[in-house]
Symmetry: C2
Subunit: 316 residues, 2 copies
């Protein structure tokens, strides 16, 4: 059943002993949403805790409250678009217990919870959490403001992407007024590169591949490069955005080696090319400006030729 | 004479045939301010044009209106903190004619105009222009929204720096509602690197110098590197920010060769070190988190040792 924001707020207010679930490969929005909601429950004197298939990256640790252990009564998921994104560890832990409420903002949401609060026009799930807390009458403390600011900023690329709305900015304004430490948050989220990441960039750029007069740029990241630099597969977000940042590039592609013969591809495009259609040629999908697909048993050189051909077709 | 915002708005409304001056090395804020004000005059059916010592960088061309030529009656400067920043070409053109009104947000403003409207708490001069246009009853068109958004975003590093206020975000929200093309603006201002810039980064990073367990990072950009890559001296903003972005770095220093034996130094610091005090040791100055100084007749290796010693002293 899909419910309104007001109904979801009423449900949340009726819950005690709440378990909040994040999606796997957790980002600032799923962690910020979970931590804000968890903190609101703790502030009301109720029990709440967070679970995720993966460990939370160290850089998000400032968001997380200390939580006691307890047997949960109700389960809520935040920013999870698809049950497959809960991850096997979460599924095992759940052991078929139902999820009472799913709060999400992805237009592609596949309903899996008993109740769904879906606001597709929200740039981030944190924007929905902010609205819900308002409905619930939960004050936005400094700690909650840090959480909501983090999700709002990270899911919009620091207010740069087209999902940024006037409301996103107004929420950011309120969060700063509530004490969000936005300078530190932005520094950590957007203005920090580790040495291994810098070295990986150097290595990968040495082999940057260009086509169509520099309109297509392909960066390949091999397992060997990751090994040499010590960068983990979960730390490739920034480098994935790099090819599309080069002046003149309309399709920025990153090919990331996973197993011996397995490659994960990210495609980022400008306003004239549909990335999801390009990836659709290879069984992948996503958004118009950012999409992905996978290849097995082909070399990076063959993969990039196939992708470039698909981009050329999309250009025509 | 220093005047209130209301008085400045009344003055502006009384002007016709207006010449608007930008500071040399023009950035998004001085150009955005001048273009917004100029467009407001044109929309009122009055004459206005813009002058700057330097040519405007190509990437800001979308801000500039077409202006007729005419003999100006009143002169207004925007975002100019010091008469020296007008530049020699502007001074020659002025030929000692007085500047009627100076609109600025720099706390270090050195008064030079007949009337000064100074709002030190504004993150950008564009925020003041936005307020002035409101007082003047000038509607914010899509084109004016592009100008104000550009200044508000560029002077705050895309809402990341500590000068960003709740008002900055609320103005951004309004500008988006007024039609500002924020996605394109942000892409051009913050997410575009040219090939020469990428190559320069590669070259400079190969010789990154570290000290104090990686707390001090020094990047040196020689004239030779600029020549090899084709990057101009005016295009070094992004690379100047790079050393401080490296995880763990508390003082990020960039040494830029100018003449044969002349070096310009930029120092960016974290929250615990005072960059202006570090540069003050060498006759320079600036803000607490970003400052500069110059050296002549010393090698980059000697300069960085001197700077590192000053940073160590500041750390102690």
């Amino acid at each position: 059943m899909r419910v309104t924001l007001q109904a979801a707020a009423a449900m949340l207010l009726s819950f005690d002993r709440v378990l909040i679930l994040c999606h796997r490969n957790p980002d600032g929005d799923t962690i910020g949403s979970a931590a804000a909601l968890c903190r609101a429950y703790l502030n009301m004197g109720r029990q709440a805790k967070i679970f995720c298939h993966d460990a939370f990256p160290e850089k998000f640790s400032y968001l997380l409250p200390e939580t006691p252990d307890f047997a949960p009564e109700h389960i809520v998921s935040v920013d999870v678009a698809d049950p497959a994104l809960l991850g096997s560890r979460t599924e095992e832990m759940l052991n078929n217990r139902p999820i009472a409420l799913s709060i999400d903002h992805h237009p592609t949401h596949k309903q899996f919870a008993q109740t769904l609060c879906l606001e597709e026009h929200s740039a981030s799930c944190c924007e929905i959490i902010w609205e819900l807390l308002g409905e619930m009458g939960c004050p936005v403390t400094k700690e909650i403001a840090d959480c909501i600011y983090t999700g709002a900023a990270t899911d919009t690329g620091c207010f740069k992407f087209s999902n940024t709305s006037p409301r996103t900015h107004r929420i950011a304004a309120e969060m700063i007024e509530a004490g969000a430490d936005y300078v530190t948050i932005n520094k950590v989220m957007f203005d920090t590169k580790t040495f291994p990441e810098l070295k990986l960039e150097q290595l990968a750029l040495e082999q940057l591949w260009l086509s169509e007069d520099g309109k297509i740029a392909v960066l390949t990241i091999t397992s060997d490069m990751l090994e040499k630099t010590g960068v983990r597969e979960t730390e490739l977000d920034a480098i994935t955005a790099l090819p599309r940042k080069i002046a003149g590039v309309e399709a920025g592609i990153t090919i990331k080696q996973r197993g011996e013969n397995e490659f994960k591809v990210s495609v980022r495009t400008g306003e004239t090319l549909d990335a999801s259609r390009i990836c659709g040629n290879f069984g992948g999908g996503g958004h118009a400006r950012a999409a992905g697909c996978q290849f097995e048993g082909l070399s990076p050189a063959v993969i990039r030729e196939k992708l470039a051909a698909a981009v050329r077709e999309e250009m025509a």
